[in-house]
């Protein structure tokens, strides 16, 4: 199965491009296009790749329609990330499609959906995750807290839905293991995106004498929480997973300085000079920050796997992706064969006033700086996954 001379490989991008979550979708798409252009310019690129952008409006139903369109337009690789619910639905649909039509099988490359189940209980041979899942991030976070004796009284605040609940559960379990002396002095669950005024929550945290807040909140729920903390001059420190996502730094502003610590797979001050220069070019061209560095890893690894597989079919590419190592911008990463989870180093980074040669975030006066680097092996989680390999392989 050599490559046909004129074959155009299509990568279908299925994520929200309209509606309330369009901002992240748009930024990821922009970055993906940038990465594909970079890959197309490589001397080893024998044909051009093309990105097919499909708007799923953030819903499962629209995602399934988009998947159909992608398959009909000959895309063999689906790239998605903005919702774990969507990822679960796509995997199920892809499974059925690949069983029925193995000649046109497709792969799902997930760059951001962090439900651990995607690579555990409900793992799939056709799914590869290029992001650290919730359990890995929590492992990294608690590894850092284990070395931070100032953290004594912890308050948990999460959005009241599956991800938030899992966040709180994992935080309690791992803190009990790593720092049994820590007291969890309160836990709040609030409706997703419904709360405008977080001042009452902050007052509650103060009354409980908390010194540290662990939160899985993202978007306005995170920004408003941090702004409310600054407003009431509280010295609370916030450990988050999503303070590095697009728009968060400008929305939080000064309020975040010295108050927000994020668990992240990448930030601009943790990367190479060459990459920083690329980020600056990107910034000048589009006026937005560089996000989703994982898409670089994803595109480069896919390219290498395609070269090794000498094919545009999903099955050989999937096999070539398994166990593949890649020297990423932040160290070596590896796609684990058992569950198709990328093992990667993580960073505990603090947002503070920009100093020296640090690069600021989102044209603010704030910059991320690394407090601790968590090597890949620390955050690595055991998996219960039993991959259902295609019958032809057994």
């Amino acid at each position: 199965m050599g490559l046909p001379a004129q074959a155009q490989t299509r990568l279908a991008f299925i994520d929200p491009l309209s509606g309330p979550f369009a901002l992240t979708g748009e930024l990821a798409l922009r970055r993906l296009r940038d990465e594909v252009a970079l890959r197309n310019a490589l001397p080893t690129a024998r044909n051009a790749w093309e990105v097919l952008a499909l708007d799923n409006k953030g819903t499962v139903q629209e995602s399934l329609i988009a998947l159909r369109q992608a398959i009909d337009q000959d895309a063999r690789v689906i790239i998605q990330g903005q919702s774990s619910a969507v990822a679960h639905a796509l995997i199920e649909a892809i499974h059925r499609h690949n069983e029925r039509d193995p000649a046109r099988a497709v792969l799902l490359l997930n760059y951001a959906a962090t439900d651990p189940a995607l690579t555990e209980a409900r793992c799939s041979f056709w799914h590869f995750r290029f992001d650290a899942h919730l359990g890995m991030r929590m492992e990294a976070l608690t590894a850092h807290i284990a070395r931070t004796p100032e953290v004594k009284r912890v308050y948990l605040i999460v959005q009241d839905y599956a991800f938030g609940h899992e966040f709180a559960r994992a935080a309690r379990a791992l803190l009990a293991l790593r720092r049994p002396d820590i007291q969890i002095v309160g836990e709040d669950r609030h409706a997703l995106g419904q709360v405008r005024d977080f001042a009452p929550y902050i007052a509650k945290m103060r009354a409980a004498h908390a010194d540290t807040v662990l939160t899985g909140n993202w978007g306005p729920d995170l920004n408003l929480l941090v702004k409310a903390a600054r407003e009431s001059s509280s010295a609370l420190r916030f450990y988050t997973f999503y303070a590095g996502s697009p728009g968060a730094v400008s929305a939080m502003g000064e309020a975040a300085a010295g108050r927000v610590i994020d668990v992240t797979d990448w930030h601009i001050n943790a990367t190479t000079r060459a990459e920083q220069q690329r980020a600056e070019k990107f910034q000048a061209r589009y006026g937005t920050d560089y996000h989703f560095a994982r898409l670089h890893t994803l595109v480069q690894m896919l390219h290498a796997a395609t070269l090794q597989a000498q094919s545009t079919h999903a099955l050989p590419i999937a096999l070539a992706l398994e166990n593949r190592r890649f020297m990423g911008e932040t160290g070596e990463v590896q796609m684990r064969r058992f569950d198709h989870q990328l093992l990667m180093p993580l960073y505990i980074a603090e947002l503070a006033k920009r100093e020296g040669t640090q690069i600021a975030s989102e044209s603010s006066a704030l910059a991320w700086r690394t407090l601790q680097t968590i090597p890949a092996y620390v955050a690595t989680q055991p998996t219960s996954c039993q991959l259902n390999r295609p019958s032809r392989l057994q």
Binding site: D160, R196, P200, A203, P220, E231, S232, E362
Partner: protein
């Protein structure tokens, strides 16, 4: 006690912001009978205009100019759009403002993009003003309360003590007579609609800096504003004031309380545990349900007292 006082202040200041948001809506409704679905969009425009002005001249100019701009825009909308639609009845007006809300949101996307803007509290108002026992209380919250209360007084005085206010009040109940007396009633409607929009714009200037200025801010406050107007009584300014304070305090205090139905039933002598049927319902904390409580109140109000706290319309 300290905790209670802090939460009381938080509740009152949030309530007063809600009042700023809903007063324009209830005024427009009382006079024109128009339920303006685009009201929250004017709130959003206030914040965006204020941000834009603040990048050139600072916060204070924005505080004055942005509401005026939003008011002018409101008058324009009434003059070229709503007035024509008016002839086709209330449903047409409702649909018009509904569509307008979408148009404004898309326009904001096109001009300012989808990301949140770096619009923050000015340095002069940043920081604590006084202490409640050990808790510093932020100056901006007090500023928010001051603006809201002075707005209430100003609107009240305008409506009851000025000539234009008297004409407005007369036009509310007897538009034909007022017209016959030689007053330009359509122009009064235009002024009122613009005034309502300006009030929403002012709330946007204040709220945008305190919270987040992004394209979802209109959708986020839209429903709660309607709840206040319904609970307070459609068209009643005083009703909107008390309903705002009620809902502001209710939400704030319910956040502080981790009571559950299970706890209540246990004190009443029932034995409850994770094995009890429907445990997921019994174990919901009051703080968890806080954001939903205003809607519960609205439903109860509509069942037991459809005209609201201080409403006068019984239809």
């Amino acid at each position: 006690m300290e905790f209670f006082l802090v939460q009381l202040f938080n509740g009152v200041s949030y309530g007063l912001l809600l009042f700023m948001l809903s007063s324009g809506l209830t005024l427009v409704f009382s006079l024109m009978g128009v339920l303006n679905f685009a009201h929250a969009s004017f709130y959003m425009l206030g914040a965006y205009f204020a941000f834009q002005i603040s990048t050139w001249t600072g916060f204070w100019a924005g505080l004055v100019v942005a509401p005026l701009l939003v008011g002018a825009l409101g008058m324009l909308v009434e003059r070229v759009g709503l007035r024509r639609v008016h002839a086709h009845g209330h449903v047409a007006e409702l649909l018009f403002t509904f569509g307008l809300a979408y148009l404004i949101e898309e326009a904001v996307h096109l001009i300012w993009g989808r990301a949140a803007l770096p619009y923050h509290v000015p340095a002069a108002l940043d920081g604590p003003l006084f202490q409640i026992a050990d808790s510093p209380y932020p100056m901006y919250r007090v500023f928010m309360m001051l603006i809201s209360v002075s707005m209430l007084v100003a609107v009240w005085l305008t409506l009851t003590r000025t000539r234009i206010g008297l004409v407005i009040q007369a036009a509310l109940t007897h538009p034909d007579t007022v017209q016959a007396l030689g007053h330009n009633v359509p122009r009064i409607f235009m002024l009122v609609f613009g005034g309502g929009a300006a009030l929403a714009g002012l709330a946007g200037v204040i709220g945008g800096a305190a919270f987040v200025t992004d394209p979802s801010m209109a959708i986020a406050v839209g429903p709660i504003v309607f709840v206040i107007v319904v609970v307070g009584g459609m068209g009643s300014l005083a009703g909107a004031f008390f309903a705002s304070l009620l809902i502001g305090c209710l939400q704030t205090f319910s956040v502080s309380l981790d009571w559950t139905l299970a706890g209540l039933l246990t004190t009443l002598g029932f034995s409850m545990g994770p094995d009890t049927p429907l445990w997921s319902v019994w174990s919901i904390k009051l703080s968890q349900a806080a954001p939903v409580l205003p809607y519960l109140i609205m439903v109860l109000m509509l069942i037991f007292r459809p005209r609201g706290l201080m409403g006068t319309r019984d239809e």
